[in-house]
Each structure stands twice: as C-alpha cells, then as structure tokens.
Symmetry: C2
Subunit: 405 residues, 2 copies
C-alpha cells in the first residue's frame, strides 16, 4: 500500500505516518524521510495538530483494530480499512458513527481484495434489485480445491499452501468457512440490502472433501468449490420473501460450464443476480498485498476527490439454510445387500427423488465409496433422511452431502 502511494503519488493523497509495532526493525529505505514512523497509535488517532486526516487500518481482527477505528471516527477522521471481520460484525454501527461525525468509512478491500465488487455494487448496481449473490470469497480454499481437482489430496495441498504463505499454520478460519462467511455478510448487506450477523450464516468445512469426490464430480460434468451463497427465500410461486434469507458457505458441486468453475488458484469471483440486469460476474485476484493495496488506494483517491459512499439502505433479516436444490451424497460403506434399498427407502419417505447412483470400480468391497444424486429437495427433508440413513450399520463414516449449484 505504502509502495503504491510512494510510486504513484495520487493527487491529494499524501502518506504522512506509519504506525507499527517495533518500528526500528520494520523501517524500509524507500519510504520518504517526510513520513513519520511511530509506535504510538493514540497520537495518530487524536485530533491534535499534525495528526493525519485519514487513517488506513490494515491490522485486521476486532481488537484492537476496532478501537482504533472508533477512536479515529470519534476524532472526525475518515477511515479506510481492509478489515472484513470488523465490517461484517460492526460495520453498520461504525457507518452510523461515521455518518454522525460527517466523515467516511470505506472498505473496498474487505471483500475480494483487488476486484471492485463493493464499488460495483455501490455505484453500478444500486439501481438494480439484487436477488442472489454467489461467490468464491476465500483464496486459500480455492487454491486447495483447485489443486485437488488436479488430483492432489487435501493434506498435501494444505501443506503446500502453508509453505507458499497461502494458508495459516492453523487454517481453521479459512477451511471452516469463517473468513468467507464474514465477507458474505458484507455482500448480503450491500447486494441484498439485508443485515445479518455473520455467525448466523451456516459454514461447513471443506475438510471432508476427498480426491474421490472430484472424480465423481467430473463424471457429473462438475467440479467442487467453496461457494458462499445468499438469496431471498422464495415463496410457493417463486417470489422473494422480504427479510427471509437462505445463506451458506460450503463446498458445493459446480457445473464446469459455470463461471464459478473457472477460477483457479487463489482467485476470487462474485456473481450477482439482479431482477432487472441479470447476472454480473466479477473476478480476479482477491487477496495478497498488491490487489488489496489497489482497493485501499482507490478508496483513498475517492476520499481525496470528495466522492462519498452511496448509502445503501438495509433491513434486518432472518437467515436460514432452507433451500430447494439438488444434492450429491457420497457414502463410504462396507458393502452388503440392502444398502441401496435402505438409502432409497429413507429418501422416499421424505419424498426425495433419487436421480443417479454412481459407483466407480476398483475399490475394496469393505471400504466402498459410492455416490447418490437427488433431485431438488428441501434442505430440512434431506437432513431428516440422512439422519435415518446414518443408522444403517454398513456406513463407515458420515455421508458427505454437497449441494449442487
């Protein structure tokens, strides 16, 4: 971020201070001498003479970053942040606080880094009524799953991702879907204009997906991606129900023909579906220092030019997981007569139509993976059927249930 400011020197934007812990060790020689390095956050966040007009917060997390942002706004400073967690959990309050103080809170970098999804929603799609938003919002999961698509196993790819700096030593935040969930909560507010708490959004980890699932997915002309998805619940005749959302972050089967199947490596992608304008796709490099920096500097340029955010009104909404979609269910069984009958019976009792049964040759009969696909059915009905199926003694592990996009 500092490098772009130094190299490009956008009009009206001047880097004045850098706050960091252990400044002595972090100082670099390409930063101009006019810039003050400091370990004292309070002096920057005050309204004292010489303190900066705008604070860029790149620390992440709720504490202490949230306190810094609140203090800055309290002192009448505008804030630019890449902090998705802070915006997902407290963005509404912080925006109200900034608005009351006559300053601005900009966070174009908080979702999909260098891809202008947030500016696109605020400035380009404000005239539409977005009814659904789907996306690949976590580069770590996309790196892992697109490598698994090419034949690798989860544990090996995770190690590779950690070695390349794409995954943390503890990858939970990414692979469990918590990171994507925070970003989805922000998109829900800006695109669907609904206020939801991130933790109300169901998150399922990608850790149960195995190489064999990519092989079966391929047979179904699909691949597997971590998809964040939110849409209004439809009533019986296909109209959106205001204030009722279905939202989830989970690995899903994605048709190879869908744009969401095209993203490779750490790329991010967002697809919005508008009532008037139809589908719009945004994709590119979602994370990493440079793409994030582009979004931060773009927000700074906007502030310097006196552009303000479009205030998108939003309403509180209830979040559920109920959705009527087809599913892929992979079982691992100790093969014996009656398994398919048991599964088919449980599905039939919930009025769920079986679509296909796929079984690849070459596996031992006592650890046999096979796949059932079912036609669109309610999430809750399938959950009940799977609970019954879980009682079958032949099952060696919990079936892997993936929604099909």
């Amino acid at each position: 971020m500092a490098r772009i400011l130094v190299e490009s020197a956008p009009e009206g934007v001047e880097l004045t201070h850098i706050f960091n812990r252990k400044v002595a060790r972090k100082r670099v020689d390409w930063i101009p001498g006019s810039v003050t390095w400091t370990e004292d956050a309070d002096s920057l966040l005050s309204s004292a003479p010489g303190a900066p007009d705008v604070i860029v917060e790149l620390a992440g997390g709720l504490v202490p970053a949230g306190d810094w942002v609140r203090k800055a706004i309290e002192a009448g400073k505008s804030v630019v942040t890449a902090n998705k967690k802070l915006i997902a959990y407290q963005g509404l309050d912080l925006e109200a606080q900034a608005s009351a103080k006559g300053c601005h809170l900009l966070y174009g970098a908080a979702v999909a880094g260098g891809i202008p999804v947030i500016p696109g929603l605020e400035h380009g799609l404000a005239g539409d009524r977005v009814e659904r938003v789907e996306g690949i919002l976590n580069g770590t999961c996309n790196f892992i799953l697109s490598k698994m698509e090419a034949g690798a196993e989860y544990d090996d790819v995770l190690k590779e991702a950690q070695g390349m700096g794409y995954a943390e030593a503890d990858p939970t935040e990414d692979v469990a879907g918590y990171d994507a969930r925070a970003k989805l909560a922000i998109l829900i507010r800006l695109a669907l204009r609904a206020q939801v708490h991130p933790e109300e959004i169901e998150a399922c980890p990608i850790t149960d997906v195995k190489a064999i699932d990519f092989s079966y997915a391929r047979d179904l002309n699909c691949t597997i991606r971590q998809i964040a998805r939110a849409q209004f619940v439809q009533d019986g005749i296909g109209n959106s129900t205001a204030g009722q959302l279905s939202a989830t972050v989970r690995p899903m089967l994605v048709p190879l023909s869908s744009p969401l199947a095209w993203s490779r490596g750490t790329e991010n992608m967002v697809v919005t579906t508008g009532y008037y304008g139809g589908d719009v796709v945004f994709s590119g490099h979602g994370a990493g220092g440079n793409p994030t920096a582009v979004a931060v500097v773009s927000d700074l340029v906007g502030l310097a030019q006196g552009s303000c955010r479009i205030a998108i009104p939003s309403q509180p909404a209830k979040v559920g997981t109920e959705l009527e979609v087809p599913h892929y269910i992979r079982f691992l069984v100790n093969d014996r007569p009656g398994i398919v009958a048991g599964i088919a019976g449980a599905l039939a009792r919930e009025n769920i139509n079986l679509n296909a049964i796929l079984q690849k040759p070459g596996f031992p009969l006592d650890r046999l993976p096979f796949v059932v696909t079912v036609e669109p059915c309610r999430t809750s009905a399938l959950k009940r059927a799977l609970k019954e199926i879980a009682q079958l003694p032949a099952l060696l592990e919990k079936p892997l249930d993936l929604q099909m996009l």
Copy 2:
C-alpha cells in the same frame, strides 16, 4: 428505465418529465399521472422553474443528443447518458463544461451497459496503473460469432440476429467494429488514462470470418471473438511507453481457456490488467433495455446521494496498430505446386517464423482453404509479407489475417 424508477422509487430520485417525439402514441398507463409528457426539449433543458434538475439522455448519436446535453449542462443540470458515441467523441469537453458549471456528467451505461465497468474503474481501480484493457464490447458481434462457433454461417446468423432485434437492418456500425471502437475509446480514457479519437482506432470487420475458420480455430484450441484491445506500446525491455498506444477492434483467435472465450450470445466482458492488481474480469449483459436502465438508475441514485465522479486525469496519446503477437492466416487457393514455398519465402524475408500449416481434408483442390500460423511478429512486418503474398497467382481471395490473443 422509467419502469425501474416507477417500481423501485429510489430515495431522492423522482421521474418528473418524459420527452419523446409523438407523445400521444407513446404514452403508457403505468407512468404516474404526476409525470409530464412533452415534445418540447427546450422547456426541459432551460433553468425555468419546474424544469427538472437532472436530464437523462437516451437518444444516442451526436445530433441532436449532443446539443441537448450541452444545453442542459449550460443550464447547470447534471446529465446521465448511455450515449457511447457522444462520450467517446466529445466526453472530455463535456466533462470540462460540466465541471465549470458545477454539475455532473455520468455515463455508467455507455460501456458494457449493466456491467459496472466504469464505476469499477473509477472507484475500485483508481489506485492501480492499468496497462491493458481487452474486451468484448459489442453484443451483436458476440451473438453472431458465438453462433458461428456452433456451426452456423455468417449470413444466416445475421438474419437471425436481425429477426431477434439484436442487429440493425444495416449492421455496419456493429459488424465493422465502429460501436466497439467508441466504447474502447472511453475505456482507454478511464483505464489507460489516455485521450484518443475513436476514429484513430483501427477497426476490422467480422464479415470475412467463415465457418471454416472456427473449425481451424478449434484445432488450435481457440475460438473467434470480436475483441477490442488497447495497451501501451512496450519498449525493447518490456516497459510501457507513455503516450504510445496500440489499439484495435477486430476478430481475433481467443484460446478456449481465456475468459474472453466464455462469453456467449449478447454478453459483454472486459478484462483489465493492472500493474499492481493483475487481471480483473467484469462480465454480464452488456446491452438491452434493462441492463442499460440499471446503469442509468445507478448513476441517478449516485447523484441523489451527492456522490461525485472520481476525476481520472488523462493525457493525449498517439494510437497505432503495431503489436508483436502471433497470427492466424487463412488462405483460399487454387492448389498448385509452390504455394507454400511462396508464402514461406515472403514470411522468411520479413524474419517471420512460421509456426504451423493446417489443411483439413475434404475440400476441392481448386478452392482449397488452408491455414498458416506464425510466431509473434510485428504487425507492420506481417503486413508487408502479406502484400507480397497477395501477388501469388494461386490466391483466390485476400487472406484472412487474425491476431491470436
């Protein structure tokens, strides 16, 4: 546009007047009675009491739309327009005029309709240094070429497109590349920050592409699309040369793995390449009433909220066609000995390396199509070689020369 305003009633935006010729025949019953229908443009463009604050111009073309827009700005009104031609030819002057009058000129709908490319460039990529922009900017050509990819011939698809309202009775503006060229000129100003006159951009028609070319393209793992492309000319060591652009609109071979090959039907797509943030892809429905209306209403919402455009500085630039890229060249010949030798010799004299010679079976020897691909070479060198090749008596028509993306 009026329908979205009536249905959605965005805060701060009120439809007050509709100007049209022959109002009596165009009146519709879903427009509220409070809206004034008029055939008198001058009354709307004046600063008289009761005249509107903002003018939406959807007439298109330079005359009389340009005069209306100038009059409105002169009266201190902000203008929202979808008029790519007006913005491409006179946008810089109109913006200066608006700025002097303290009002705004917004044209989010002028390029790629419902896809927020212009807001994305202005608000999300202002912090990057965009070095290249490529896109599919004309839905009519994309409809025709993606249908030809599926096996149809040009004349048949054109008729189909005309029947569906996707192409004009005289399709020249679209198929010759003039429409895409105007849009490219706007993108050059906003993305590359360079001022060019649209007519300086080379435009080659798609009309010489035949079904056989899609067949050969497929063998090369490519398809064919009308691509608008602009980038800074690179010096010998790969740095961009300020003020020197290469820009063109022409049918090109596009690898099937490129996002640009994914767009079907009337879809549009823009890919920007930033020095810091890398590639960003925008895609969706570029044209049609509703997507265009979304962009127009979004601009109106922005105006109502007091958001202003980010003024992106731009510099005059020289436009050329010189570029070092591989080419696909399809010949139609009356087969006889020495043809390949003649072609290869002409290429060799310009130091152009032949890459492959492809010849599909099943064609009569006296009307034999075959294809030569060459390694990256300067546009001017290939032009000279093709001029020499054109003298070969076996050639039945001018070779089709397509750049390979």
